[in-house]
Symmetry: C2
Subunit: 529 residues, 2 copies
């Protein structure tokens, strides 16, 4: 399968611009063939118009066909076989095992949404029947369900070339909702993006889905992203990446004549609190697990634990020694690209210049070939966090800061001072967790997910997942970008008043032919009305 | 009951500023006693800090207590008796019957949310149990539910002094969600606001709810509103009013260091389409009902039908004649205040200057005492709408524009050109509605509520209501500000991973003690886990 480097605009391979860019092999920091065309506003406009043009057909499509389409995307991705795995590994320096696991997760995610579409209750159907005799005024027949917003712009993420990229959770949930998708491919893995984009196109063609429901525009610069977010026919934006990038898109979308929602997941420091009893009982084990979590995938997870709070004392000293001993032998690993490597090195250098911030393992800031970096563990005291905002910002890469707290109050104060987080973790014995309910209650306001006695890396795709959190973890803390509830981002309610049965959407007719759960005169049921 | 003119800050009556303002009696355009203090940033800051301080107690409160509190607000409003009705009538010039009906609706709205809180399924509990043996990786125990956002700023609306004001749908749904509320009272009815504010305070005190969960800050200028939206502890904003006002709040909130959601309902033109068969069969009746809908409450409803589309021809001529005959004898009625009267007169004058826009009843632009205005019916052709954006903007007051369409294509084109609407209405015979499915499908993208053979004024408060719609009807087309789904605006999901039973919120424990509907390993059930 030869990569074309072209934009996938509906069913056409095309390019409006002439500039090109290449992916980088992060192992050796050298460019990879072929050249990819840099997308332009013209490419975006064509893609979005096609999306709008085929939106009506997508939203009117029955659940079997739409579900089948989403399911077939998974089949077509698997059918790419090793070509996809090899290209993804070459572009990201992630190991084969990781890419294969991520591919599995991506396909499972697609299957979850395919099942959800087929099951059908996601439309949240509600029926309040007429009461013509009600006094003082008769009650009309009212029925409501969720409908898709319209074309959605999806920004592929660099750190998950499959699961948060072209056919990732954003695309899967938007298509499930009935929204056409225009993806801006992440410039770190354009070959992977093209392969997956062609798989989606193939699935559409096989399932009789109009080609305009999916396009992929590639680009390294800002033009494609800006054109997408500004385009009047785009109705929502999904993004996973940096705070700077997510906020820029949010600001752009909010300044439109017609503002649109931006669901940007922008990472966080994912604080971990280790309570004294847990430190005493199993500090060494937690230290070992922490180092594994911090260095997993060269630390390039949104849920990487970047701040570890524990109470000052001999328990903490032992914990730090054990963590240092586990981390010291870890060799350098390749980051996804040169820009991330530079950012990591610069951020570490800045952290090391802060008084009272000390490395607990030897520092290797330069000297690695390609995009390789060494992991690092730092230590500081809680009171410094308040004075140095940099300590509370996400550090993307295999590093973490252990924060010593003088006492319980200082630990709670540090939790209170946290900004919004994707996750927050507490390690404690059963007894002390009960004693620290205040901490748990406090973290509920800070994070989208709270974990006990585990590590935040590893995000399960299921109904109960909340991968989100208050700003700056996301631009919309009311949303999740992982799990079945992610579909809600792309829906809006419509109420139908006094509609005759045949004019109603099938989900709202008296006869519940799809057997979905509905709220009927206030009662949840699968019965007919 | 004597009005104090003071701010109600938690349990205290206070004022930080010294400036005052008075309400206007719109019947006579004269000021009403007493003077009310103009709120300041200091008042707002005190109120928001109290709200934040009592948030934890409100969100931890059991459903019986929180539901009882919301229910008792309705009791306390009723206990105000005629004092409330008289003051509301004096400040708004709305008739006693209308105010009494609105009070009934306001109380029913509170009772709906009280029932919802007590029933409990609104938290959308989801449980995915652990699968320790799953391969390749064990699945952790994950449970998710919706939790409240934090303090909410509510802006009282001028046109519904009870139902969309201090204890209106925004306040009721925010309190139901567990969010403390700081209301900016609408300056048109400060006395009504103070009375209702005291009723809420009384209910809180009777139900053991901490006083900080509710404050009322009054003001005529921009200072209170700006201070509220900018306050870092405020987590969401609800507003009903003009496009200009709503957009200003949205822009302010989006520009905060931590952006927050703004749910602004900003009205719309609520287009009505009359298909040829309906025009032929019952044109005269539709004309009479239309005039009643347009002039109801001096046309001061967000759902007032401002644009009426029908096909050119003798049927339309007869329709216009009948509507004109019904409207001509309607005398002038008082608008809510002098600013609205001026706006209405100026907008009508501007419309009358547009070539091809003609009045079909005599025009009385000036000459009425107090804030009285005369209703007006205008006529134009569909092609002019595209050239004159003013024709497509909401005209707040008892006026409507009949738009003649040359043919079916022009009618569909006019529908396609519409901006977002709260409602869209179609009158048609059964046969022609089936023939115009394209129109219904098109309107689904434009409006939050679609009505057949009725009129949009009158918004039912129930589970199936969607009172919202794409921009510029609202700043968030994914939300509704009326009905039980309005609670969702103030919620965010939190996922609990590997929590021991006693540490989980009651709604997520294995034993379903509250008997709520939950999603248990993908299955909707009220059973224990």
């Amino acid at each position: 399968m030869k990569l074309s480097g072209l934009q996938l605009i509906g069913s056409q391979d095309d390019h409006a611009g002439e500039q090109t860019f290449r992916a980088t092999d992060p192992q050796n920091d050298i460019p990879l063939e072929p050249a990819f065309f840099e997308g332009t506003g013209t490419d975006v406009d064509r893609a979005v118009r096609l999306a709008e043009g085929d939106f009506d057909r997508l939203r009117a499509m029955g659940p079997q066909q739409r579900g089948g389409f989403i399911e077939d995307i998974a089949n077509q991705i698997m059918a790419l076989g090793d070509v996809l795995v090899r290209r993804a590994c070459a572009e990201t320096a992630l190991p084969v095992g990781r890419i294969e696991a991520e591919r599995g997760r991506t396909c499972n995610q697609l299957l979850l949404f395919a099942r959800m579409v087929r099951e059908g209750s996601w439309v949240d159907a509600r029926i309040d029947r007429a009461q013509p005799g009600r006094s003082p005024a008769p009650k009309p027949d009212l029925r409501m369900m969720q409908v898709p917003l319209g074309p959605v712009a999806v920004f592929g993420a660099g750190n998950f070339p499959l699961a948060f990229s072209v056919a990732g959770g954003d695309t899967a949930s938007a298509l499930a909702a009935g929204c056409p998708v225009v993806v801006k491919g992440h410039p770190g893995h354009p070959g992977t993006s093209e392969l997956v984009g062609r798989a989606i196109r193939r699935a559409a063609s096989r399932c009789g889905v109009p080609a305009g429901v999916f396009s992929l525009v590639q680009g390294r610069g800002y033009e494609v992203g800006e054109a997408l977010v500004r385009h009047p026919l785009v109705k929502a934006v999904a993004f996973t990446g940096s705070l700077k990038g997510g906020r820029a898109l949010f600001d752009l979308a909010a300044s439109r004549p017609e503002p649109i929602p931006v669901f940007a997941e922008m990472g966080s420091t994912n604080p971990v609190f280790i309570l004294p009893g847990a430190l005493r009982e199993r500090g060494a084990q937690i230290a070992r697990d922490l180092v594994e979590s911090v260095t997993l995938g060269v630390g390039q997870f949104c849920t990487n634990p970047g701040l570890v709070f524990a109470m000052q004392g001999p328990g903490l000293d032992g914990f730090v020694q054990e963590a240092a001993a586990c981390m010291a032998p870890k060799g350098p690993g390749p980051m996804l690209g040169p820009a991330l490597k530079d950012n990591y090195q610069q951020r570490l250098a800045a952290l090391l210049r802060i008084p009272g911030v000390e490395p607990v393992v030897p520092v290797h800031l330069q000297s690695h070939p390609g995009c390789r970096v060494s992991p690092l563990l730092l230590k500081t005291e809680a009171h410094r966090l308040l004075a140095e905002p940099l300590l509370g910002e996400e550090l993307f890469g295999p590093a973490s800061i252990i924060v010593a707290c003088a006492d319980r109050d200082e630990l709670l104060g540090a939790a209170r001072a946290l900004v919004g987080q994707l996750t927050a973790t507490v390690h404690g014995t059963d007894g002390e967790l009960a004693d620290y309910r205040e901490l748990l209650f406090l973290l509920e306001r800070k994070a989208g997910r709270i974990l006990l006695n585990g590590f935040p890396t590893g995000v399960e795709v299921c109904d109960s997942m909340a991968h989100g959190g208050p700003y700056p973890a996301t631009t919309d803390g009311r949303s999740t970008s992982v799990g079945s509830a992610a579909i809600r981002r792309f829906l809006r309610p419509v109420c139908y008043q006094n509609f005759a049965q045949p004019l109603l959407p099938e989900e709202l007719r008296d006869r519940n032919s799809r057997g979905i759960w509905r709220l009927l005169d206030g009662v949840r049921t699968r019965e007919d009305a």
